[in-house]
């Protein structure tokens, strides 16, 4: 297993956000996390990369318990792409992507040609070739999102955790980014992707994990998702069908159950 969480409970100041959650991720798999706002998707991702203390349970990454790994060692195994973040300071795109190399440098290590090649490759992968000298605070929301993705790619980890990586993208770039994530999966990386767009999840994921109020209520293949499950998760009626071989889900207007 690339990553496995057992009986995971996490909370902020006593208030539990995740309750007794189990999740396993095999290498070369893409799991989509779906669920309403506040259901604990971001908290789960933060916990999986060691940003939050666990109240209960354990996480094992590449066979090593998370608690036994140093921060730097962990950052070489798992990368996080946070929710659309805004940069206030005028760092250049190159400078931001190279921050992803930090876990691989020693205390006084210098960035070498190899690091720069990795950063350039990551920028190319997200379709931002030639953006290196642009300033991040002058980019569009979608470009910023792809820069943070490139920064995570430059970390060269086996596991990637992505928090709504397509939330600020137009449909064309959503397709590009999901195609990139699928390519990464082919390369053997494991990915956990929190998403709001059910159809994007159904189209790309190997498995879909549905979270509600901090619990994992269902983990299934995309073709096993039906209207009833979606209603239970999101609280509105859904039509689920197939169109040219792909599962498609549409919420019905004005029907909240």
């Amino acid at each position: 297993m690339a990553l496995s969480a057992k009986n995971l409970s996490v909370g902020y100041g006593g208030r539990p956000v995740l309750r007794h959650l189990d999740l396993e991720l095999a290498p070369g798999r893409l799991v989509a996390l779906l669920g309403p706002n506040g259901c604990g998707k971001s908290t789960l991702l933060a916990a999986l990369c060691g940003l939050l203390p666990l109240q209960e349970g354990s996480i094992v990454i590449d066979g090593a318990p998370l608690a036994s790994l140093s921060r730097l060692a962990l950052a070489r195994k798992v990368a996080l792409v946070p929710q659309a973040s805004a940069f206030t300071l005028p760092f250049s795109v190159d400078e931001v992507v190279l921050m992803g190399r930090y876990p691989h440098l020693g205390r006084f290590g210098r960035l070498g040609p190899e690091d720069r090649a990795i950063a350039a490759e990551a920028l190319k992968a997200v379709g931002l070739e030639g953006f290196g000298t642009r300033l991040v605070n002058a980019l569009s929301g979608g470009e910023v999102q792809r820069v943070t993705l490139a920064r995570a790619l430059a970390q060269k980890t086996g596991t990637l955790l992505l928090d709504e990586p397509t939330s600020a993208l137009d449909p064309g770039h959503v397709v590009d980014v999901m195609a990139l994530l699928e390519r990464l999966r082919e390369d053997g990386k494991s990915l956990v992707v929190a998403l709001h767009d059910v159809n994007v999840a159904l189209a790309s994921a190997d498995a879909v994990a549905f979270l509600k109020e901090g619990s994992l209520i269902r983990l299934c293949r995309p073709d096993e998702v039906d209207g009833e499950l979606l209603r239970e998760v999101y609280g509105v009626e859904w039509r689920v069908g197939r169109w040219q071989g792909q599962a498609v889900a549409l919420p019905k207007r004005g029907v909240r159950s």
């Binding site: 940069f87 300071l89 921050m99 000298t133």
Partner: protein, 326 residues
């Protein structure tokens, strides 16, 4: 890669300005010495000779050179500390005195002047350590260092100490002018010991920042630094304590000189971007050049307190920065 080129260019430019202003500081002063006399005095010592013009020798070697150097190193140290504080606290208004170090030093100095205790510098240093400790206790919750809380604690401790300083000024009677002068900073007392001391402080500030410049970048970029393997807590502890100690060392030597630590890093950032490796190095030279220039101006205008000069120059520059930003 444009920024690395620009960096070299600016480094050469600022370095030349620094060299120029240091040269001017040695040439110009109350006692009118011709450039030849100064050159003579310089040459004589460098060649290991004694004798010659004793007055010129004393003025050049015991007054002007140590004073110019001390000013340069103080400016360098304050600018580097300012850059560290601004990056670490994610606050553009952070400066070396954010942790209450300046008012603590001022309080110690005022205490010493008012009651004629002598030993202004050690008392000022003790005062700054005391207020640093207070701010630390107030600003630090049991498990987490919050930038906003620290800044607030700094403001509170500073204002209490300022009230104390005002009280001391009332009690000081004849000595009140001495306190005011100390508060505004000056290099009139500069000697070789001070030059050495501030040199070490400025190097400490530079290497403190440079040893953690990547971490500072990650924090300043607003990312979740821990996700890259940065131990944010330890980093904050290390850098805040280190930069505050350096500031305390500097402030207790020459008084409270404002604006340099605030303005120089902002100016450099405007030119070079926020990346801390380059920012720190250029701030070191920029702060040094600015302070030597300010001290020269203060001397030429009849020994004005240097804090007045830096505030008069730095204030409008800062207004301009704000104006352009918004």
């Amino acid at each position: 890669m444009r920024r690395s080129r620009l960096f070299l260019l600016l480094l050469i430019l600022v370095g030349s300005i620094l060299a120029l202003s240091l040269g001017l500081s040695v040439l110009v002063g109350d006692l009118k010495l011709s450039p030849e006399e100064v050159a003579q005095a310089l040459k004589a010592r460098l060649a290991g000779q004694t004798g010659g013009d004793a007055v010129a020798d004393a003025v050049v070697w015991q007054v002007r050179i140590p004073r110019a150097l001390a000013a340069a190193f103080v400016g360098a140290a304050l600018s580097c500390c300012g850059a560290v504080f601004q990056g670490l606290l994610l606050n553009p208004l952070a400066e070396p005195y954010t942790m209450g170090v300046a008012s603590g030093a001022a309080f110690g100095a005022a205490l010493s002047i008012t009651f004629g205790l002598g030993a202004i510098t050690p008392l000022a240093f003790a005062g700054s350590l005391l207020s640093l400790g207070l701010v630390w206790l107030l600003g630090r919750r049991t498990d987490f260092i919050e930038p906003t809380r620290l800044i607030l604690a700094g403001v509170i401790v500073s204002s209490i100490l300022s009230a104390g300083i005002t009280l001391l000024q009332v009690l000081a009677g004849q000595q009140v002018a001495a306190i005011v002068l100390w508060l505004l900073g000056s290099f009139t007392r500069a000697d070789w010991a001070m030059a050495r001391w501030t040199f070490l402080a400025s190097l400490a500030a530079l290497f403190l920042g440079l040893s953690r410049h990547r971490e500072l970048d990650i924090i300043a970029s607003g990312g979740r630094a821990a996700a890259f393997g940065v131990d944010e807590e330890r980093l904050r502890l290390f850098l805040l304590a280190g930069a505050s100690l350096v500031t305390a060392a500097v402030v207790s030597a020459c008084g409270v000189i404002g604006f340099v630590g605030l303005v120089v890093p902002h100016l450099v950032r405007l030119l070079l971007g926020p990346s801390h490796g380059r920012l720190l190095v250029l701030s070191w030279f920029g702060g040094a050049a600015l302070m030597v220039g300010a001290d020269l101006t203060a001397r030429l205008l009849g020994e004005l307190p240097i804090g007045v000069v830096t505030a008069l120059v730095g204030g409008p520059v800062f207004c301009l920065l704000l104006w352009r930003r918004c």
